[in-house]
Symmetry: C2
Subunit: 308 residues, 2 copies
């Protein structure tokens, strides 16, 4: 390993450690368990939001915001808004009527630890919390920035973003059970919505907080699009050949379901090449930036090298 790689990897390691701590800290403050009949709801929200996950989305927000001199605490809070959306989507995806998963981040899923109704509600409440966080004065005192953040997150999570992608994913499973599975073009579009939209929103929100005008965000959005696809290909590879214990969730589900993925369509070898190509392309989009973009570069590399 070249010394430059060591430095980059140290940089990422400490960035990941501090974002985990900061996000946990903020959710702890945001979710004080009340002394009334809502206590169970708050406990379920805490189970989902605190102490698990890589916190990749908040890190993308803070790393991008940091490039433009945004106050770190404000960026962490905006990152928590994105993470609240991500956490709600995992609770709902894990439900028996959806993926029916028992394990998430190495712990029982919310509907197992609590019950299904509480899981549905905890997801809904985290969804609303995301927007509640974004409009707090601690994120920004500028109403224009605030409404741009809300617009970006709402679009990324709804029918033209994550929820739309999740629907396509359910149809992909059905298509896999019948004859005609999805082709590469459709799987790419599916993943751009299901995973890519929220990763892209994370980067874009960091830039919005940094008062980067829309035309100055284009290369950052290209970076996000490339790492989003690379992330999903890496996820498909982990599902195909990863370690379930390390991943903290069930694996090999796609193959069992006969669902078209990047790995089933391209084969593991070409999928891996494609992921590495996308990472190089993502880093290329940052060429106009100096070392202030080193965390984003390190994230791009980490995305395909992670083992969970």
């Amino acid at each position: 390993m070249a010394s430059e790689d060591v430095a980059v990897s140290d940089l990422l390691g400490s960035a990941l450690a501090s974002i985990r701590e900061d996000v946990d800290h903020h959710f702890d403050l945001l979710l004080p368990v009340p002394d009334d009949a809502r206590a169970r709801l708050f406990a379920a929200m805490r189970h989902a939001a605190i102490g698990g996950g890589k916190r990749l989305r908040p890190l993308l927000v803070t790393a991008t915001a940091g490039m433009f001199g945004v106050d770190r605490d404000a960026a962490v809070r905006a990152g928590c808004a994105v993470e609240a959306i991500h956490a709600y989507s995992l609770i709902h995806d894990d439900l028996p009527c959806m993926d029916d998963d028992d394990l998430r981040h190495g712990r029982p899923t919310v509907h197992l630890e609590f019950d299904e109704a509480t899981a549905v509600l905890a997801g809904d409440a985290l969804h609303a919390l995301a927007f509640d966080i974004l409009v707090s004065p601690q994120v920004t005192s500028d109403p224009f920035i605030r409404s741009e953040l809300v617009a970006t997150l709402a679009r990324a999570s709804g029918m033209d973003g994550m929820a739309g992608g999740q629907m396509m994913d359910m149809m992909a499973e059905q298509a896999g059970e019948n004859e005609g599975g999805f082709d590469l073009h459709t799987v790419t579009r599916l993943q751009q919505l299901k995973t890519g939209a929220l990763l892209g929103a994370s980067v874009e929100m960091g830039a919005i907080m940094g008062r980067v005008p829309p035309e100055g965000r284009a290369h950052l959005k290209s970076y996000a699009r490339d790492i989003g696809l690379a992330f999903q290909i890496a996820d498909d590879l982990l599902d195909h050949e990863g370690d379930a214990e390390l991943a903290g969730k069930a694996l090999r589900k796609d193959a069992v379901a006969g669902k078209a993925t990047f790995v089933s369509l391209l084969g593991a070898e070409r999928a891996r090449e494609q992921a590495h190509m996308l990472v190089e392309q993502a880093i290329g989009h940052l060429a106009s930036h100096g070392e202030e973009a080193d965390v984003l570069r390190a994230i791009a590399r980490y995305i395909v090298e992670r083992d969970r």
Copy 2:
């Protein structure tokens, strides 16, 4: 019936008819079924959002906004945002793991017409759509107003509003199954969160669009609090003695579940008196307004006189 009552009731009848038409029209435009694997999601969202419901929340937004000269089209759109939140909450409340209802607005619930996974997702997508609508330039071009609208709606729908109230409601059912049911104070608090918060947000959002400063909104919030409780008492009375066919949903569920309600705690007669007292009190809060508040007055009366 005095001629004044006839006029008020005509006023309300035409206001209800136009808001129904306008809300349907906007959701029709907002939810064009795409020619891809998301089609089923959009169809489920349309099933929930178009062609059913009294549209009371959008009417509260437009009636309040109208008092302060707000453009009607803008207020209808903000009303659609509130209605999207209401519609998502009904989809999720009807799920088998929650209330397990088959009928809503006289039609099959979303999880029966489609399936449970699609119902969860359609609710989630309508939740995100609400915020997407609020940040559209057609609602307001003023970012300050926009962020106040988002803050009001996010707070009313989350853990300190509707979702928190729904959790309390689930606990009320459990408390009913065991020995100690909820007392009147706790049921009041529950309903203020579960139903009152979103009705209150509807009125407040109309006032925000009318640029009424927070101190000028106090009496409108009091009006909303009173009609919110009256609405819930009327709902309990309908559940107790109403016509399921007219209501378009299953009734007598609370008594079967042994759940504490205003009717079980006060008796039907005192509950009815209480509802009428709250309506008079609500109308009293509008004393500083002239005929521009007649629709709000008519809504207050309608809330306890409706048969569905």
